[in-house]
């Protein structure tokens, strides 16, 4: 059974790029377009990894990360936060919220894949 990655990202193009990149290497994807949906899908589907965008309306990535990490049964799921270059200090905030790693936007798909592989070396599990 292949590993499942939850993408929490409000922008269609970014989701598409991640989808094309990650399904291509064999990951299974779950997509959420808001922070709330991300938390809900994490609870329901227990993914193997979460890619969390920071800049989202209403519930941002930091807040969503914090909510997921506050649940004991979800705490072990690694979360990679995609920080925005526009907001400096995001990295520290992401780590404070409980993220396991961060990738700064604009990310290169290759660099992102490398970061994911640190947690999930083999998509097929």
């Amino acid at each position: 059974m292949s590993k499942r990655i939850l993408i929490v990202e409000d922008q269609e193009d970014n989701r598409r790029i991640l989808r094309d990149l990650l399904t291509n290497v064999g990951f299974e994807l779950i997509e959420a377009t808001t922070g709330e949906e991300g938390v809900r899908l994490a609870e329901r589907n227990r993914p193997d990894l979460i890619l969390m965008d920071v800049q989202m309306p209403v519930l941002d990535g930091h807040e969503a990360t914090q909510r997921i990490k506050s649940q004991p049964e979800l705490r072990s799921i690694p979360i990679i936060v995609v920080t925005s270059y526009a907001l400096s200090g995001d990295e520290a905030k992401a780590m404070a919220a409980g993220a396991d790693a961060y990738v700064a936007k604009p990310f290169s798909p290759r660099a992102l894949l490398a970061a994911i592989r640190r947690f999930l070396p083999d998509p097929a599990g």
């Binding site: 922008q11 193009d13 970014n14 790029i17 094309d20 990149l21 291509n24 270059y85 526009a86 400096s88 200090g89 990295e91 520290a92 936007k105 604009p106 990310f107 290169s108 798909p109 290759r110």
Partner: protein, 545 residues
Amino acid sequence: MQQNLRSNLLGACKVVLQGQGIGSRLRLAPFRRTARALAGLRETVVAFVARIPARVETKLLVAFLGMLALLVALGAVGLSVLGAAHQRTNDLIALQRKIAVYRQVQQDTTTQLYEVSSAMLLSDDKALATALRKLNQFDYDLERLQFVNAEDVALSSQVRRTYDQFVAVVSEVAELYRAGRIADARQIQLRQAGPLADRLERLTNQLVNRAEAEMLTSITTGRRSYTASQTAVIAFVCGSVILALVLGYVISWSLIEPVTQIAARLRRIAEGDFSQRVRVTNRDELGALAADVNRTCAELGYLYEQLEAASRHKSEFLANTSHELRTPLNAILGYTELVLDEIYGEVPAKIREVLERVQSNGRHLLGLINDVLDLSKIEAGQLSLSITEYSMKEVVETVIVATEALVAEKQLTFATTIADDLPRGEGDERRITQVLLNLVGNAIKFTESGGIAVDATLSDGSFQVAVSDTGPGIAAEDQQAVFEEFRQLDSSSTRIKGGTGLGLAISKRIVELHGGRIWVESEPGEGSTFRFTLPVHASARSVAP
């Protein structure tokens, strides 16, 4: 024991000191009250003069004329006192002369009376005739007496009458002697001439005594009136001096105070503080000047606020715009990379080549947008450092790794010296890396042959980083300009070399935000060395844009 002694001594000292304190407070209190009252009075008077609605010229003229009037009055008082003194002297001289005359009369009278009585005693009619002749001559002296004497008319006329009677009696006696009627002559001599002579002597004595008494009174009066006029003159001089001082002081302060205030206000305006107004109560040119300064200040303050707001809006607009620009660009770059990684299938060589150009142009565009965003955030004061622990050694190594390929491509040498004793620092690692990357990137960009050297050492609690190149160098007059926005020495080089011309401006702000300094040492044709210092333990500070 010793401790006890010391604490006792301390206690005694305290008591003495406190005692002195109370004493001096008691002594000073009335002075302070007086000083306060005087200061209050001064303010009131100065404010009153300031509020007089007249021109400064008029005020000065009035003050000057006032002082002149005081001088003239002083002169007049002096002259009148002098006049009085002169009059008194004249009076005294007259009195003295009178006394001299009276004394002469008295003496002459005594002499005459003596001669007459001797002649009578001897019953010598010849001697009597001589005495009578002298007595008649004495008549001239009495005439003079009348001439001098104006007041003692009564007394002098008595003298005169008595004298006339005496002369008549003596003449009669002389006649009787000559006729041989000795007994009759003696009779008249005893009964009439004797008492008349006594009376004449008494009267002349009285004259002298009276004149001397008058003289004494006059001297006493003179002394008294001298003391009085002395007091008057001293009082007048003191009054004039005080009045002149007060007048000068008040006029000066009513002019100096507003000038000082206006000057202070202008200094504050020059420093960029438009919030306060000058409070000048003068209703003269200085008042008008203060009002103008206030109006200018208000106008400047308004313009300054508008400028600030405009600048803030510009920065916010730039920050928002560049963020909006980046989102689609990220997608373009992301898709391009996926295509190039053949996620969507095999890519023919020709298409790959074009796509690589798309990618490199896209990255350049992203770099431009990022620089503009950085700078506008710095300008808007929104760039805050995220201070973490970092290793300067690792920063340098990261930059070397990132630029190695470029150095190799241009066949340049790359020397790195990192001091062994570098401690771990505190700062914004990503921003510091950005600064060093920018400096090394520039060095590579502008160096066609030779090499680049990076040198990191520790000195005075700061990291000292130097990036040297063997490029064309920068003239002294341009060394400041390179740190300004959108400045490359030759604007054509922007197109050839790429870059936004913002890198150094951003680097400067980042270094300064860390509390460090950045500068360049260079000579045309000799290459350049860019240096920056960073406190090992940096704390974020705000830097004026």
